[in-house]
Symmetry: C2
């Protein structure tokens, strides 16, 4: 399914931008209320399909010594990119998910981010963790074109979160590591609660949810998204 990721992400971004723009044109903010003074931030919701981050050492094993990841597409937070390269992920049920996209650049640790649907299929009992918090998490077998390796730990479901810069944080009245709720108005209306706020001077406002969460609330058919402090 990871080949579907890029178009779905684009499509969702386009839809959400379109909703916001319509509301802005009507003098409404993304919460559907009038916003007389303060510029309403544009909420972009991107769906993270299963993917992994790798150390250069693990890239060497999977793709050959000294191999450098190549960029297929810059992500919305444009310090990162979706690589052309993919790996296969294998779990204890001897099932494989092929074509799991690598996100670059390389990191100091390798990490695989799966939806629960993926993890159940592979037989991996994944915890919900913030990216990078992988101590004590389960591992898996990774297979590349030039080699395979056993990742001792690093398989997680990424905790739903929202990236933003200081101006957006000020608009919403939140700070780094606060929580927010996001209500999605769609044919399957849902509220995702407790999104972790991550503030960094260079980040654009962007909600990251996984495929289970996006499919639960039918995000591609959403007519509105409301982000509020929890």
């Amino acid at each position: 399914m990871s080949t579907l990721t890029a178009p779905t992400r684009d499509r969702v971004e386009m839809i959400v931008r379109s909703i916001i723009q319509k509301q802005m044109a009507n003098g409404l903010g993304s919460n559907g209320r009038a916003t007389p003074q303060i510029a309403q931030p544009q909420v972009v919701v991107n769906i993270s399909a299963r993917h992994c981050h790798l150390t250069q050492g693990d890239v060497d094993i999977l793709f050959g010594p000294g191999y450098q990841l190549t960029s297929m597409k810059r992500l919305y937070q444009d310090t990162d990119f979706a690589a052309n390269e993919t790996v296969a992920v294998v779990g204890p049920r001897q099932r494989m998910i092929p074509g799991v996209r690598i996100l670059g650049p390389c990191r100091k640790f390798s990490q695989v981010e799966l939806a629960f649907t993926d993890a159940i299929s592979l037989g991996i009992d994944v915890p919900v963790r913030l990216s990078g918090d992988i101590e004590g998490t389960p591992g898996c077998l990774l297979i590349g074109p030039k080699g395979s390796l056993v990742l001792a730990q690093g398989v997680i479901r990424a905790e739903r979160h929202v990236h933003m810069g200081p101006t957006d944080a000020s608009f919403y009245g939140v700070k780094h590591l606060d929580r927010m709720n996001m209500r999605v108005d769609s044919p399957c209306p849902s509220a995702l609660e407790g999104l972790l706020v991550r503030v960094h001077p260079e980040w654009k406002l962007e909600v990251h949810i996984d495929t289970d969460e996006a499919n639960c609330c039918d995000l591609p058919h959403a007519s509105g998204v409301t982000l509020t402090k929890a």
Copy 2:
């Protein structure tokens, strides 16, 4: 994944019953509030993994003339059963999901219920529909051990819903085709809104959500479920 369905469903039922029983022991209803007079119904939330319903005519084609489905397990609404028999579902991307469980007994129409994750993987753009409302929905290819057939329509994402009897409907102050909201307290807290109420004298109180919805809100690790009139 459908081989996982039965244990997951049992596990969730066990967990939810356990939560309710603890709350009842504390003098609390499933909404966490004291319920001095009226007996609080026990909310059972069951996860519908992808499955299908078939006509006897389609069973004849897929399993051989006159073949009778056999019961693997009675469902919570015990007029229905999960059959030992499964089919493979194929969509326009030439991908197959094998082992899709058949629910019996046979019906007057054939219908395949998929999560969006499944449908996207197969390349089928499924609408959200109430079971049985299949006019104009997409079809698929079904493959059985003795034959295959093209289902002209009937592939849907089942709309989230709650079965109940008249006593439960009275308790919640709802009637047939009203809407309810369900909040799930878990490591991934979420509110699923607009569950369609379906009342029948013989039905037990039971919420039906699909695997995307259950995985979104991490239902297996839920510590509480609250059902309220929308």
